[in-house]
């Protein structure tokens, strides 16, 4: 995406909302208010939000909340959600036990 983003742009003050205590990230138990406050702290990309608050860093890796977080951040910044790039998808797609990840099959054998 890479677009010039001046972080001094005025997005207005943080105004507490009635649903700020709504849980958004189910895994890490992050609320809407925390996400909104993070935007006002300067976290303007979904990647920064994620690194700052841990949204989408829990067991499900953001599969449940990423769209919700995106909507909240977009609204706070006054941009369309489509303009926000989702955080990077990372291996593994599902949680995998260390003992299994460590156990690579012989790549020459007939693997199933």
């Amino acid at each position: 995406m890479n677009s010039v983003n001046d972080r001094t742009r005025d997005i207005g003050p943080f105004v507490p909302g009635p649903d700020d205590d709504m849980l958004i990230c189910r895994c890490e138990e992050i609320t809407k208010g925390e996400i909104r406050q993070a935007v006002h702290d300067g976290m303007w990309t979904l990647t920064e939000i994620r690194r700052y608050l841990r949204t989408g860093m829990g067991l499900c890796q953001g599969q449940t909340c990423s769209k919700l977080v995106k909507g909240i951040v977009a609204r706070e910044l006054g941009v369309s959600p489509a303009e926000l790039e989702p955080a990077t998808s990372r291996v593994p797609m599902r949680p995998i036990e260390m003992r299994v990840f460590a156990n690579e099959a012989d790549s020459n054998k007939e693997g199933e």
Binding site: V91, V100, E104, A105, E112
Partner: protein, 525 residues
Amino acid sequence: MKRYDLIVVGAGPSGLSAAIEAAKKGLKVVVFDENEKPGGQLFKQIHKFFGSKEHRAKVRGFVIGQQLLDEADEAGVKVVLNATVIGLYQDKEVVVKLGGEVVHYKGDAVIIATGAAENMVTFPGWTLPGVIGAGAAQTMMNLHGVLPGKRVLMLGSGNVGLVVSFQLEQCGCEVVALVDAAPRVGGYGVHAAKVARTGVPFYLSHTIVEAEGDECVTGVTIAEVDSSFKFIPGTEKHFDVDTICLAVGLSPMSQLLKMAGCKMEDNPKRGGQVPISDSYGQTSVPGIFVAGDVSGIEEASSAMIEGRMAGNVAAEYLGYIEKDALKEELDTLDKALDGLRQGMFAPSNRGKLIEKTDEGIEVSQSLLKNGYIADEEIERFPGVVRKVGVHPVIECTQNIPCNPCQDACKKGCISIGKNITSLPIVVDGSECINCGMCVANCSGQAIFLVDEDKGDGSAEITLPYEFLPLPEEGTKGFGLGRDGKVVCEAVVTKCRSSKAFDKTHLLTIKVPKEYAMKARFFKVS
């Protein structure tokens, strides 16, 4: 490293279709799926599909799933289950978790057909046990035979919300309300109508205020919303429920593609983050293709065609077929896909308010607001005619891509014509023999056989019935209107079952003749 011509990720409708097509062209194909059972969502779809013959219309989803599996087997496709693809690395390296080990594979081509994930919506209490996704309800009841709950509130009136509501009732749950914040029903009118006539109240322009309960859901409050989706005070309604089911749309599950470095875009028309691809699934990375919901949310029927397209394109990419042969295949598939993308629910019409059918008939506003067609609206549609003797009454009122009814009638009573989305009409001068094939074959359960005047002051109505227990002949009860409310007393005069009906039973009820055009469901007293 172990190498295949083609690695397909996801054994749903699109993945299997792609694999079959490619294997038929000579490619060595493997399909990985993380689930214990193949078929993706097909095995949870127990309703009859729409479309025409080429789209496997009037066949139930799980049967299509089995058909695809058999075809895949016949074509020599290797389907590996319980196989979680944990990553798609550079150089088309697919790493799969299989039992207690990870295996690295290379594909000369890779087709990603990972489908979609459910969207969620928040409200106080949305994390309580008992608040579940609609997909979870389907999984519990249709795969594992466990009731998702006893009293359920469904949020979402798209096809998923409607279909799952009906499925919940089929397995014995009570759906206490179907709620949607939108002002109009989002899914097919026929799906809505079959839910509404069983007595499920629809609350459009409503949404959930709060789910109640300490340890799990014990109740829910909904309220009406205004045009900017704000609650209107004083409109709250409370229901005692143990389950709240969320069916608020799907998003493409495209993480693997992003991981592989495919260029992505956020495309609201396709349901979210999707790879940038041409109309046959080629992404920005040569040799990586997509098919099905992962490239844009649609129906299983279109996913199957997209899969076949991608399978053929992969075959040409690897030199198993020539460009000419590919073009021929794609021309046919383009036509089939075009057929499905017509009508009011076409992707190009998403979000548009359609007031008239292609035939110029005003769409039923009651259907959109309440889930059923009002009595005073029904007779303006061409499938609904009054006649002497038994005749079909076709309550199909929206332009959807579906035509099994016209093939079902051997006597030529029903016609849709060339355009698959046209409204069915009862052919003038045709003679109904009361065989019931049209009733059983209508995927929307929108056809009834009516004898308006039996001569003794009564009328007989034959309706599709997919519930247990089946009422026996002589069972007394009530006729319910399209709105699910009791309109008259009724008695069962016949209950027909047949292999050709494919588990849609034909219940014939006798009602006072003034209710011939009003009673559309039967409830035992």
